[in-house]
């Protein structure tokens, strides 16, 4: 493995982890939005608050990790993508800002009216962010970001691959969130709540799975390089993703929630990995390869030092946080 590929792998590992953990946080916006009025939705919203409250900021940092590694290791392509995909990135950014702020504000709102206002902003921004990030991924994967930037500001992301990318991202987030929320609800003994979430999660999961495979039809025309990769090198991953996603549906159907979470996470991880493997060795598809995009060797080496430190420092701390939030002591409200 060359230096460039090692750094690209570390970068993409961040994308995969963010799509799972960050995705699960954003996906809770779907269940918040569909929870119903103040009275009926109180239980779901309390669960969401409790579920993502301790972890969303840590999960969010994976995005920072991805951005920073991208611009440091592959600066030219970062600038090209940022200038071409300016609008969806700006909208995703707005979603990120509003989601985080309104989530914190809602938790400490004094009145129901305030909580409802912040709640609407929270749910809405949680829905749009994965969509626009998915559009960005679709634009890169369908070869619409020119190597020197300055691609079309609209058609670069308003196209079949991008739109399917956005919808798949949104659906995956909701499926993930549903599987985590239903498990939390069941473990803390909220049976009625778990049943309601179970049905919605099954619906979202089935729909998202269908979307992933339906997307292959337009992608064949719209993004042939990606299509060849997905049906070639990445085929095992796509098959694994289908198996994981389907078995997750079965597990949720049969109420084995704690295992189901891992199956959904595996489905999302493999579909994200499938995208990465599908567009390899391109960084910007049809434009720049990973090797050609890389910055100075000294910087790539230094970045691997940073990645090593992350493995030593961040992963144990993160595991501790996740361990605590999943332990019985923390489940009590």
């Amino acid at each position: 493995m060359t230096l460039e590929i090692a750094v690209a792998a570390a970068l993409f590992a961040g994308v995969v982890v963010y799509s799972i953990f960050g995705g699960a946080d954003f996906g809770s916006g779907f269940f918040d939005a569909t929870a119903g009025g103040a009275r009926r939705g109180a239980e779901v919203r309390t669960l969401i608050d409790h579920s993502i409250g301790p972890v969303w900021e840590a999960n969010h940092v994976w995005l920072i990790y991805v951005l920073v590694t991208w611009w440091t290791a592959f600066p030219g392509t970062f600038a090209a993508a940022m200038s071409t995909l300016w609008l969806p990135l700006m909208l995703a950014l707005m979603g990120i800002v509003l989601r985080g702020a309104s989530f914190a504000f809602r938790k400490y709102s004094a009145t129901l009216g305030q909580a409802q206002l912040f709640g609407i902003v929270f749910a809405g921004s949680s829905l749009i962010t994965p969509f626009f990030l998915g559009c960005v991924a679709g634009a890169i994967a369908s070869g619409r970001v020119p190597a020197d930037g300055g691609g079309d500001l609209l058609s670069s992301w308003v196209n079949p691959t991008s739109l399917f990318g956005g919808l798949i991202a949104g659906g995956s987030c909701a499926y993930l969130a549903g599987s985590f929320l239903v498990a939390d609800a069941a473990r803390s003994g909220h049976r009625g709540l778990a049943e309601m979430l179970r049905v919605r999660t099954l619906g979202v999961g089935a729909l998202t799975g269908a979307l992933v495979f339906a997307a292959l039809v337009p992608i064949k025309q719209d993004a042939p390089t990606l299509f060849d990769g997905l049906t070639g090198r990445a085929l095992p991953l796509m098959v694994l993703s289908a198996l994981a996603g389907a078995s997750a549906l079965v597990l949720i159907w049969t109420r084995r929630y704690s295992v189901a979470r891992f199956a959904v996470a595996a489905a999302v991880a493999t579909v994200t990995l499938g995208w990465g493997a599908g567009q390899y060795p391109w960084l910007l598809v049809d434009e720049v390869t990973i090797v050609d995009a890389a910055g100075a060797d000294a910087t790539l080496q230094a970045l691997l030092v940073a990645v090593g430190l992350a493995v030593v420092i961040v992963l144990p701390a993160l595991s501790y946080l996740l361990y605590l939030t999943q332990s019985e002591r923390w489940l009590r409200h």
Partner: protein
């Protein structure tokens, strides 16, 4: 869009330059206040929480609980507004990131690690109340405080590099070669600039938090809760406010060597003078300084640490490399003026206290203490304006001009407007929520449960309203 047309008419610079610079200034200027809380607040919470756990001080423990809830709100909007800056590096300045990303990027990677640590332990700390052994829970603040130090260093390292670019070479074809990211990170300017910002964070947070309790005392709430809530941050503010003029002075001495044009703008110096006067106030109109108060020789003393060394003037700088003068000068002098006032005021407080009088009994001092927080924020913003505007027209000093780094996106005025609206909304939201938290605490509520639903559903706690 008339503004845009005006801008195009006025100059041949890219039409996005003005709004892009304003958007960066707005989002950076907003975030830096929150970043200060991320850096300095955990240490202050640690002190009161420590007293609560190890001295059995119930008042201190209650302060720690409240401050941790406040930090939940502040750190959330701090995290997202910091993310804005990460995006804006590319969305607004692709010419900087595309060309120099692999030179300047490394400190950001380490800052990412620090941010990770801070976010992880913040989550544990906030939700650990009543769910962890108290001593272990207290320890969760330590990694947060450490991450604040490292994070500050890393972010400042990038800014210091922009002012002292090193760790690369431009070859004959103008390409960036011989990149050494470690040399870029540990450039000559980084240590002093880091110290200046780190201490500045404690000045801002110390005075701001102390001011909240001074306001309470002004309204007659003179219990131990308010005294302790004032004294702990005020002690931090005292140490920081006294250290800051020294750090700032030593940092300033570098400017004469490394960025003479910036120093000339600080000092409003049209021509090189030896010895140079200290020019208080004043405004440059048509190449002439008016309405200033000049104190002979002191300019040389402050800028060069000598009564007769010259202070460089703008006449030594090519015309198209001169920074905007008046705004840089005024920002610089506001920072120095407010910083001096803050340092003198803490000296006065502790001197009078040593002589046996407590200024907390004085309504005038309390009023001043309330104002000190906003004043410290103004000083911080002024300092950033001075150094950033004083670096113009360069984004990377004498290497890359800002107009060559800016995006050519045609929608930057819209994004500036949108940014302003979102930040205004966040400011109002934070103010409303924090005020309501304080009000409910005063009314005797302790836990502040989240207010979902007008009545409790299955197993969900009823909001105690």
């Amino acid at each position: 869009m008339t503004l845009e047309a005006l801008q195009v008419l006025l100059s041949d610079t890219p039409s996005g330059l003005l709004p892009a610079r304003n958007q960066m200034a707005l989002s950076l200027g907003w975030h830096i206040i929150l970043a200060c809380f991320g850096v300095a607040f955990p240490s202050m919470i640690f002190i009161v929480h420590w007293r609560g756990v190890f001295r059995g001080d119930a008042v201190a423990l209650e302060l720690a609980k409240r401050w941790s809830k406040v930090s939940a709100v502040l750190f959330a909007i701090g995290a997202v507004s910091g993310t804005v800056l990460s995006f804006e590096m590319g969305l607004l300045w692709p010419g900087l990131m595309g060309r120099y990303g692999d030179v300047l990027g490394l400190p950001f990677a380490f800052e990412g690690l620090a941010f990770f640590v801070e976010a992880i332990f913040l989550g544990i700390y906030l939700y650990g109340w009543g769910r962890m052994p108290p001593r272990i829970h207290l320890l969760m603040l330590v990694p947060m405080a450490c991450a604040g130090v490292i994070g500050t260093f890393c972010v400042i390292a990038v800014n210091a590099w922009m002012n002292n670019p090193t760790g690369f070479r431009l070859n004959a074809a103008g390409e960036v070669v011989d990149v050494d990211p470690w040399a870029a990170m540990f450039n000559d300017g980084v240590w002093l600039m880091f110290a200046h910002m780190w201490v500045g964070a404690f000045v801002v947070v110390g005075f701001t938090v102390a001011g909240v309790y001074a306001a309470g005392m002004l309204r007659g709430r003179r219990d131990r809760h308010h005294r302790l809530g004032f004294v702990v941050p005020f002690v931090f503010a005292t140490v920081a406010a006294l250290a800051q003029p020294l750090v700032g002075h030593v940092l300033g001495l570098r400017v004469a060597e490394s960025q003479p044009a910036k120093l000339a703008a600080f000092e409003l110096a049209e021509t090189t003078e030896q010895p140079a006067p200290l020019r208080l106030g004043g405004i440059m109109i048509d190449g002439e300084v008016r309405y200033s108060i000049d104190i002979p020789k002191i300019g040389s003393l402050i800028a060069r640490n000598s009564f007769n060394k010259p202070v460089p003037g703008l006449d030594e700088v090519p015309e198209d490399e001169r920074p905007p003068l008046n705004i840089t000068h005024w920002a610089f002098q506001s920072m120095v003026g407010i910083g001096s006032l803050l340092a003198l005021s803490v000296l006065l407080f502790w001197f009078v206290r040593w002589r046996g009088r407590d200024l907390l009994e004085s309504r005038w001092f309390l009023r001043y203490a309330v104002a000190a927080g906003p004043l410290a924020m103004i000083a911080l913003e002024a300092g950033w304006i001075a150094t950033e505007v004083g670096r113009q027209p360069w984004v990377v000093w004498q290497v890359l001009r800002t107009e060559d780094a800016v995006t050519d996106n045609p929608w930057i005025w819209w994004s500036l407007a949108g940014t302003a609206v979102v930040y205004l909304g966040m400011t109002v939201g934070a103010y409303v929520v924090l005020r309501s938290m304080a009000r409910r605490w005063r009314a005797g509520e302790l836990d502040l449960p989240s207010p979902y639903g007008p009545e409790s559903a299955e197993g969900v706690q009823e909001p105690s309203r």
